[in-house]
Symmetry: D2
Subunit: 140 residues, 4 copies
């Protein structure tokens, strides 16, 4: 089965803008924090992948901004690995207000690249194994 | 004809991350700067719309991250209004490296809302006129 | 006695820059998070003070950047109220690496202002009481 | 004579917070942009110094936040090199509203370090020369 995780983010004044709600680009930051903590809980630290000259970078994102989160809100981010390929992963993420209503929803494709050149490369097998994702790979 | 515009953004150290390139969420910021300057050049200031209790908020975005921009790069952002509806606009934006290659490409739907309630509302006619967009509206 | 508190901040990729360490301005954000959580633990929520047309804003800061925190570091922020006046507070804050070594140290004066006008005003007595700070005020 | 420069920054919605003004930590970003452009105008690009394994990092800052800048404001940043030592520089910077009133004022000490180790090192002589600062150095 593919990994899922929950992560909480508190909305601080730095996250809001003059319209009174969370600045839209910050949801991308919150969602990356959630993916990073999910990876960490699986034993994968970003600084360690950097040492192996491997980086995971966001390749594409489809985002919908549904409700404005406000100062002091405690957001809950649901993260699920939707799909795993040889060199990329797709995450489905929902940022929820305390009421349970979604503030932001996204599909995010993360690609595995060489740290220096930023060229695509296969996800190292040991990382694949940690994500419990080996069965999802095409056999061919 | 619908509006188009070009805008330049310098990459500062604050925009980059430890992987050596621009942090992905920052392209959303750059693209909002470009839309804001485009609107300003058409005579529409965000602070003025706020005074009319009107805000333009990002409703959804489809983003592709193609190449990592680096420190000191001078980016060129092409912005085009793709589509205008009664209560929202679609922008197509490309962030280009100095070489002309795209770093990031996006379709961004911006909705018109009441500033306080964040509920959808029609774009005020005078703003529509400024965007040269009246012909694009459905006649019905 | 004046309030003290500890708060932890994880360093995410968004917090770093191309030199490989935390971007210096982000320590001001981390320190504000720590002060906000300290206030929250005392029963003072920023969004609630906004409803009373009161805001706490940073008036001045003396910062020393001592060591660069890195990706994945778990920082510990020590916050102490150093001094309380009628319309402002001074915090002393130290951001420590896991080793205990300081990454950043600061004295931050936070002023109480009217939310709309940003003019100085006395800290409301009920907030003073919550900060256990009544004894620190000059008797005159 | 020591170098001085002026730089303009437009306030975008990303720079503001829910209290309606520029988020305080962002002045540190604006001031770094101004210093970077000043250095660039003197022929010193940050990415080039990185290639020489040299980085300029903020060592300490004394900041005063005087007035809140608002959305759409066009800020003028005055930057002056106040003092040059063998391994560090002090800048005095004022961020002004269009009215000329100061929004933020700071003294910022920038240290020259080895990029990898972040240990202090002498400012390379060719950079010193570019800053027109050779006369300011102690003769001993």
């Amino acid at each position: 089965m593919l990994a899922t995780a929950e992560y909480q983010v508190r909305v601080f004044i730095e996250d809001t803008d003059a319209s009174g709600v969370v600045y839209h680009a910050n949801y991308l930051r919150f969602m990356e924090r959630a993916r990073t903590e999910m990876m960490r809980s699986l034993g994968i630290e970003q600084s360690a992948t950097f040492e192996h000259e491997v980086a995971f970078v966001v390749h594409s994102a489809q985002m919908r901004f549904l409700r404005g989160a406000r100062l002091d809100d405690l957001l809950r981010i649901e993260t699920a690995v939707d799909n795993v390929r040889a060199a990329s992963l797709v995450f489905h993420q929902v940022v929820r207000l305390r009421s349970g209503e979604p503030a932001c929803e996204a599909q995010v494709r993360v690609a595995c690249v060489h740290l220096k050149t930023h060229r695509a490369r296969r996800i190292p097998t040991e990382l694949m194994a940690l994500m419990g994702a080996t069965k999802q790979l095409p056999s061919g």
